[in-house]
Homo-oligomer: 298 residues x 2
């Protein structure tokens, strides 16, 4: 359980990260990185997949959506605005505006209707001084990455030092700890067998010392390995037990189900009410499909 | 990583719980509790299912097998002996001899060939004094349950007190900490929303203070809830991250895969060698099946 509630809003819907509530699933899919066809479509001005991916991910259980427009040599501020408009028109879920380009974050915030999660700032002085005033001015919340210009620290205690700096800097700009969501950084275990252990230790330290909400890119852990969904599905409950309260992640059924199972196990779904309701809905859908199948046959 | 290695042996095979090695999956299935047909077969002297269940569970990834003969009004020592003989004849995996009846444990140990895991003793004085000498005499290892005659403690610290007592009593009988495997007790989350949280805290405390190996009945957590395998598959990685080194559990694919994924994530499968090998074997088996399918068609 985190000490704070981070409230995000779309035009019509409010989502809370943390407190005693369930984990916040942030769909990772609206991101052209590693998606060649999607990148080509976006480059040519075809945004149809943005809305489609938004609808699919929300149907699969996403509470929020990450939107990223990072394509080399495009006008990222303009593209991000167009993608945010398309996503907002398609679904009610609040959005995590994802860019490393300050101008793109600014352009995105200017078209976002609600309270966005801005992804991200690091512990680098110049980034903090550029991005935090922007977040404060728009009344948004911000993701803070536990690294600085020297790279990603190898130990949990070094990462914690960056986190303290980000939380303090945010306070200086009038952003309270409830609106700082820390990314403890998940690296791939295929490149470093200690990667996940360090991430879990970082999560535990942040939870016990600061109690702020946390969000990480969960799919990173399995990069380069086979059966990635199964690895991600095992990683998420571990990270949740350590104190993680949200993730930018795949909405593959096995991953979302692992999160909802962990919610129940950790007491964030009292008496399994949501778990049992989801099970009943699935059984009902299967029965409907089974009844319709023979009638649909020629 | 636990501080000790618990070595178990069958006639021909050695299995290690703990150290830096992978998690030890102990198949739960050879147990008549809640299996009406199996109980009837055993009662009538038909032991065919013991061997079949042993083979199936080992094929599904079990490193060891639990064998329990607890049927009301049967001669449990005699039945347990027969079941142990059948299981030993069917597979090479070492066995966890499971009974609450001291005479049955004694009878089981007398026919077991190798170094067994005796399941279990509690922190009750009379149980410790009856069972530990038996374990010592047979050179076996023992599962110690973190409860006493007053029931299962609600808090992790109270459970730890029982664990300290068991480890100390074992030492008095010449059984070192490497041969004491503690059951931190997993209760169903359907009856108590704090159940899993307390179990995870107990595991962490035992791991940091005593460093002994641990084993629990993982399927208990999901009792009475739908989609039990999915809940168990989310629970196991959490418990492993906290320090659990073995479990008596279902060998359903989703559960075993969650354990092997967690092994990789926690650095107990360096560079994913086992994970990748299992993936390749699965792909090869699927290809073989696909090639044979058309030929088998009429």
């Amino acid at each position: 359980m985190s000490r704070y509630e981070t409230v995000l809003r779309s035009r019509t819907r409010e989502v809370v990260i943390g407190g005693s509530g369930p984990f916040c699933v942030i769909g990772e899919r609206i991101n052209p990185t590693g998606r060649k066809l999607f990148a080509e479509e976006l480059r040519s001005g075809d945004l149809s997949r943005v809305g489609a991916d938004a609808v699919t991910q929300v149907a699969a259980g996403a509470d929020m959506l990450d939107v990223n427009a990072g394509i080399p040599l495009v006008d990222e501020p303009q593209l991000l605005q167009a993608m945010l408009r398309a996503a907002q028109d398609a679904v009610e879920a609040p959005i995590c505006i994802d860019s490393s380009v300050v101008e793109a974050l600014e352009a995105g915030l200017s078209v976002y209707e609600g309270k966005a999660l801005v992804n991200s700032v690091t512990a680098e002085d110049d980034r903090l001084e550029l991005i935090l005033p922007l977040v404060a001015r728009h009344g948004a919340a911000v993701v803070g990455l536990a690294n600085d210009e020297t790279g990603i620290p190898a130990t949990a205690h070094e990462r914690l030092r960056h986190v303290r700096k980000i939380v303090a800097a945010a306070a200086d700009f009038g952003i309270g700890p409830e609106d700082v969501v820390i990314d403890p950084l998940a690296m791939t275990v295929g490149a470093d067998t200690e990667a996940v252990t360090v991430t879990l230790e970082t999560i535990s330290l942040i939870a016990s010392e600061l109690g702020v909400n946390m969000c990480l890119g969960a799919s990173n852990v399995s990069f380069g390995l086979p059966q990635r969904h199964a690895l991600n599905a095992a990683f998420l409950p571990m990270a949740m037990a350590a104190g993680l309260t949200s993730a930018i992640m795949s909405t593959a059924e096995v991953c979302v189900q692992a999160v909802r199972a962990a919610d129940l196990l950790l007491g964030h779904d009292p008496w399994g009410a949501s778990w049992i309701a989801a099970h009943r809905a699935r059984v009902a859908a299967e029965q409907t499909a089974a009844q319709q199948a023979p009638a649909a046959a020629p």
